[in-house]
């Protein structure tokens, strides 16, 4: 019974976070902000929803944990690669952005000017 409640709570928590991430993708102004919403929120949301499924059915816990672990390992890398790729391919920052850390490193500027 208590497992049931925890499992459904985790699934709803994850579903709401997935929805909020998707909303952020539509609403945010530029690529880098959308990247924040689209990968951080969906990582947390997918992780908790999948673990919730595992808690509802304790026999499934091992495999759901593997899926969640895989998402936890790969999602930051793909977001990192996408952010770097958008910066390198010359996507401009939003005009109200206050800081551009990548400009402080010499190699990024070199690559971008070429």
């Amino acid at each position: 019974m208590i497992l049931n409640v925890i499992g459904w709570f985790l699934i709803y928590f994850g579903a709401v976070f997935l929805f909020l991430g998707a909303l952020g993708i539509v609403r945010f102004p530029d690529v880098y902000n959308r990247l924040q919403a689209g990968t951080k929120c969906t990582t947390l949301g997918a992780f908790s929803a999948i673990i919730g499924v595992g808690i509802l059915h304790p026999a499934w816990l091992a495999k759901t944990f593997i899926i969640a672990l895989f998402i936890l390992l790969t999602n930051p890398i793909s977001s990192h690669a996408l952010g770097r790729a958008s910066y390198r391919s010359g996507v401009k920052l939003w005009e109200k952005s206050v800081v551009d850390k990548c400009k402080e490193f010499a190699e990024c500027v070199e690559e971008r000017n070429e």
């Binding site: 895989f70 390992l73 790969t74 890398i77 990192h80 690669a81 770097r84 390198r88 690559e111 070429e114």
Partner: protein, 230 residues
């Protein structure tokens, strides 16, 4: 412009005809008799729990052998078509190097994905997997390394040897079936308890061979495509 309007008209006409045809086909009712036979007798005949796998590997085994041959032919043909492309390409583009984070992470993920591909093709008779998806997952692990390490390569010698050995294993299993049970690709191992890992006769053996073959073939194909862009 006229060409475009004509093409649009043609597309609309074909769409209407297709819709009219499909409206006559009932959806969601049983249609084939042979499918019912496979479902009812498949587990008793062969011992495999996954009926699709039983059909692909044993009921229609020749078809799968031909399919693997087509894949081999396509990979070889791609190598042949692209053979002279590399030497002529003189102008070197400047390429950006992959970042340190990506290199470290893919080094960590590579064995995990390979292991997962092996899991898929070994459990082909129990789960919705099989040799072809397993091979594709293995090739995707190699693609990950190709993407994130510029110098790293899969030696063509080894991919060719793996592919040839896997293909030979498939044919040799078929020939043993011919010798022991009387026809090519016949099941000659005990069926076992349905649902166990060691069951379903020769399905796991053949799917392991197919998994190695597809994985090494697609890896060689990716390697060919990659060498031409350097």
């Amino acid at each position: 412009m006229i060409k475009k309007a004509f093409a649009l008209l043609l597309v609309i006409i074909i769409g209407i005809f297709l819709s009219a045809t499909f409206a006559k086909i009932p959806f969601g009712v049983p249609k084939t008799v042979v499918g019912k036979y496979y479902l009812d007798h498949g587990v008793n005949d062969l011992g495999g729990v996954n009926i699709v796998t039983s059909i692909v590997v044993l009921y229609r085994g020749f078809d799968t052998l031909g399919e693997v041959t087509v894949l081999f032919l396509a990979a070889t043909g791609l190598g042949m078509v692209l053979a002279g492309l590399r030497e002529k390409d003189e102008k070197k583009r400047k390429k950006t190097a992959p970042s340190l984070i990506m290199r470290t992470e893919t080094k960590l993920l590579f064995p995990m994905i390979i292991l997962f591909g092996a899991y898929i093709f070994i459990h082909g008779h129990l789960t919705p997997g099989g040799g072809f998806p397993g091979g594709v997952v293995i090739a995707s692990a190699f693609l990950l390394m190709f993407l994130s390490h510029e110098k790293w390569e899969a030696k063509e010698k080894y991919t060719k040897i793996t592919e040839a050995l896997a293909g030979m294993t498939y044919v040799v299993i078929g020939l043993i079936g011919l010798y022991v049970a009387g026809s090519f690709l016949e099941n000659f191992l005990p069926k076992g308890v349905p649902g166990n890992l060691f069951s379903a006769g020769i399905i796991p053996l053949i799917y392991t061979a197919i998994g190695f073959k597809v994985g090494s073939e697609l890896t060689g194909l990716l390697q060919n495509l990659r060498e031409t862009t350097e």
